[in-house]
Symmetry: C2
Subunit: 311 residues, 2 copies
C-alpha cells in the first residue's frame, strides 16, 4: 500500500514539542513515501534491565521525541495531509510504566511501576500469564500548529499530535488539517499495543521503523483529524469475548474512571495480579467505549477487557 | 445457553418507570428461565405507515414500558442478579426517530423525523442504499432501586435500567447489583441494532421476545453492572473497516458531539443523505470510542462508522 521509501528520516532527526519555527529536516513532493525511524516515548531511557526506580529519573523535557519535521511542497492552511500507513518494524523491546501524576487513575496509583517487554514481533507479548496481542501503531503523529512558539508534546490538537489512536496502524489512512505552509509533519511515540483510552498513560512503548506515504488534499477544510481503516480493528483481541465493567452516571470522565477501577479490581481478584499490574496490563489491551450518551442525565461508559489475554 | 422457558411474561404485564412498590407479576426461584414479551420503546405507537408527524403525538409518560417486575426468591441487597441471554425473536417491524430535545445533537436537529424499518430477521435492515446488520439486544434491563417512590425510566442507574449497551445480546451474561428484597427485575426497550452511544437517542426500536435465565449471586457486592460476552462483539459490522471522525479537546462530551457532527457531515456529503438521516443511520450502527483519555488537557473521542453499511 506504500511504495518503497524514497527517504529515510533517522531517529536523531527529531524534536521535542511542537513549534512551527522548527526547520524541516526534509522537503518532499506530495505523494512521497518515507521510512521514519521513531524513538520510543522515553527516548531510549529504559533498557532491558530497567526497574521502577528508573521511572523517577525520566527527564520530562525529553519525552516523546518525534521524528521530523517534513515540509510538503505546496501545503497551505486549509489543505489536509493524507498519511497512508505502510509497514511497521518494531524493535521487540518495549516498556509500560505507571508514571506518578499521569494516567486515568493517577490518584489511586501514586507509585512508579515499570514493566519491560521483550517479544518476538508478530507474536503476543508475555507478562506472567498474560498474552497481549500486538498491533503496532503511531501514538504521536501530527503537524505544526499555527500558533507561534513552543507547544507541549503531551496534548493532541486538531492538527494531530499525541492522538494515541490505536487504529492508526498498517493500511489505515489519516487526514490531518494543515495550519502552516509546508504542513511540517512529524511522527513518533510508536506503540506495539494499546487499548482504546491508553488508561494508565502508557502503552507497550516501543521504538520502531514505520513506512508512511505523505500526500496532500488541497482545500479539504477539515475541522478535525479523520481516518479510515482497511478492515476490522479488534480481531486481534476479540476471539474469546470480553469481560466488561461499567460506569453509570452524569459525567463521562467519572464513568470512565469507575469502569476502569472496577476492571482493575476484577482482574486483581480473579487472577491474583497486583492492582497496579492489572491497571498497566489493561492499558495495553482494554478498550473504553461510550455505550450510551443520550439517556439524560446518566451516561454509560464501558471498559472491555479481552479475555484472550488471560485465557 | 438457556433452558426452555418455565414462564412467559406477556407484554401487557408491564410498567412505566421504576418503583420498588410495584407488585411482582411473577415470583421465581433462582435459575429460572423465562420468555419475556417486550414492547418497543413507544409501546406500539408507531405502525408501518407512520410518519414524522406521529412523533409529535408520542406520549412521553408511556414510553419505554418494561415487562415485569419479577421477584427472585432470596434476593437481598448486596447480591447480584445474573442474567443469561438466550435467543431473541424480533418482530421485523422497527422504527428510528429523531425526537425533538432528545439525542446527542438535539440542538442541531430540532425537527422530528421517523424511519420505519421492515426487515426479515437474520438479514440486514435496508434504508435506501444502507444495509444495517442486526444484533438484537435489550436496551432497558434492570432492577428496582432502593430509593422509594417513582423514578423516570430514562436514565440508567447502578441497578441497571436504560443501559442501552449494544452487547447485551445472545450469549452474554449480565450482573446487576440488587438494592431491594426480591430484586424486582424488568426488561424492555428491545433494539434490533444500535451503535455504541445510541447517538440520536433511538436505535432500531423493535418489539421482540427474549429468553432470559435469572439467577442469583449471593453477596456479590457489585458497585456497578458488569457483563461478559461469549465472543466478538462487532464482527457483524467490521469486515469492510471503518470511516472514523474525531473530536479532540478537554471535554469528552464536546469531543463526542464534534466527532458525531463531523461524521454526519461526511456521510451527507459523500452519499447525498439528508443530514438528519445520516444522524439517525449512524445511531443504528456507528460506535463512539474513547481513543485517549490521559494526554491532559485534551482527550480524543472517535466515532466509527462501519463501511459495510454503505458499501
Amino acid at each position: 500500500m506504500c511504495d518503497a521509501p524514497h527517504y529515510t528520516i533517522h531517529n536523531h532527526q527529531m524534536h521535542y514539542g511542537w513549534d512551527n519555527a522548527f526547520r524541516p529536516v526534509q522537503t518532499i513532493a506530495p505523494g512521497t513515501t518515507l521510512l521514519f525511524q521513531c524513538n520510543d516515548a522515553a527516548g531510549g531511557h529504559f533498557h532491558a534491565g530497567s526497574t521502577a526506580e528508573d521511572v523517577a529519573t525520566l527527564d520530562f523535557s525529553k519525552t516523546n521525541p518525534v521524528t521530523g519535521p517534513i515540509a510538503i511542497d505546496g501545503a497551505e492552511p486549509g489543505d489536509a495531509v493524507k498519511v497512508t500507513f505502510g509497514g511497521f518494524t518494531p524493535s521487540g523491546l518495549g516498556w509500560t510504566a505507571n508514571i506518578p501524576g499521569f494516567g486515568l487513575l493517577a490518584d489511586q496509583f501514586p507509585d512508579p511501576a515499570l514493566k519491560m517487554w521483550s517479544y518476538t514481533p508478530g507474536t503476543p507479548a508475555l507478562w506472567g500469564m498474560a498474552k497481549v496481542p500486538l498491533k503496532p501503531f503511531t501514538g504521536t503523529i501530527g503537524l505544526a500548529p499555527a500558533e507561534p512558539g513552543p507547544h507541549s508534546i503531551v496534548p493532541p490538537r486538531r492538527v494531530g499530535g499525541n492522538l494515541d489512536i490505536r487504529d492508526l496502524s498498517e493500511g489505515s489512512v489519516l487526514y490531518l488539517p494543515v495550519e502552516v505552509a509546508g504542513a511540517l509533519f512529524s511522527v513518533g511515540d510508536t506503540h506495539a499495543a494499546q487499548g482504546d483510552g491508553e488508561i494508565c498513560g502508557t502503552a507497550i512503548e516501543n521504538a520502531m521503523d514505520v513506512v508512511l506515504t505523505l500526500d496532500l488534499v488541497k482545500g479539504a477544510n477539515l475541522k478535525m483529524p479523520r481516518f479510515t481503516t482497511p478492515g476490522p480493528v479488534t480481531r486481534h483481541l476479540d476471539a474469546a469475548g470480553y469481560e466488561v465493567t461499567t460506569g453509570v452516571g452524569p459525567d463521562l470522565m467519572e464513568g470512565a474512571r469507575m469502569a476502569v477501577a472496577e476492571m482493575v479490581e476484577l482482574l486483581a481478584a480473579r487472577h491474583g495480579l497486583p492492582p497496579v499490574e492489572a491497571y498497566m496490563l489493561a492499558s495495553t489491551c482494554g478498550d473504553l467505549r461510550i455505550s450510551e450518551i443520550v439517556d439524560a442525565p446518566n451516561w454509560v461508559v464501558s471498559f472491555y477487557f479481552p479475555r484472550v489475554v488471560l485465557a
